[in-house]
């Protein structure tokens, strides 16, 4: 099997897992809040969690094998987060400060995951 096909398989698996988890999580959150608020809470939760997770996968030693990268970083973290729903939310409710906050927080949270992963990596290298 070619590398491309193998990658597609792992990414498909991760993306499917991420998408299902995102849907279930947003359904659970929508039970606890009214429509526009629930959508915003769900989007923020999912996107920030996914961004943090992708930051972790970038440096954490466990994720440094090729198939782990395909499955967890490209597939899962990418499929778990969404921008299309954010775009639709902006179109309906306007460009509010929450969206800007989410974008900047996404970068910050990715950075937090990245640094955390690097710290573990350095500790393992020293040992």
């Amino acid at each position: 099997m070619s590398t491309s096909m193998k990658m597609a398989g792992y990414v498909f698996l991760g993306g499917a897992l991420g998408s299902m988890l995102r849907y279930l999580l947003s359904e659970v959150i929508s039970l606890n809040a009214e429509f526009p608020t629930s959508e915003l809470i769900a989007l923020t939760t999912v996107n920030l969690l996914g961004a943090y997770f992708l930051g972790l996968t970038a440096r954490l030693p466990y994720f440094q094998t090729l198939w782990c990268k395909w499955l967890w970083a490209y597939g899962f973290a990418g499929g778990f987060t969404t921008m299309s729903a954010v775009t639709l939310f902006i179109d309906i409710h306007g460009l509010t400060w929450e969206i800007f906050a989410m974008l900047l927080a996404g970068v910050a949270v990715y950075g937090a995951g990245w640094h955390q992963g690097r710290r573990v990596q350095q500790r393992q290298t020293v040992e």
């Binding site: 993306g15 299902m20 995102r22 775009t87 996404g106």
Partner: protein, 131 residues
Amino acid sequence: MEPAGTRVAGFNKGKLLNNPVLLTLLIGVFGGIGSVARVFIMRWQGVMPFGLFLTNGLAALLVAYFHAGHLVQDYLLVGVIGLAGGLSTFSGIAQAGFDFYHRGRIAQMLLTLAINIVFPLLILTLVFWLA
């Protein structure tokens, strides 16, 4: 325009939506297909992450197309949450933004964030306007 969110009160539920397990699995399958497409599109890298803009733009186009009424209501959730959700990515934006920030390229970081908001929004508005 009527609010087109998926959880609007009185949202018309079809036959497929009565089976939550099947619906979740279908969302998973289409999310996987979207993810594979995203990885291949995101190989287009240059001065800016053009592939990232393209995937998010394409996802916005799909969302607008589905919401504009060109799809049976039953499959709206699968198309929007599954396919478009799997195709678009927020963590990729965070990654590109942090990479630029880490290399001290603040202007490119802010531009990446701004383009990722404006470009899909433009496509969405355009498709809603044309439909």
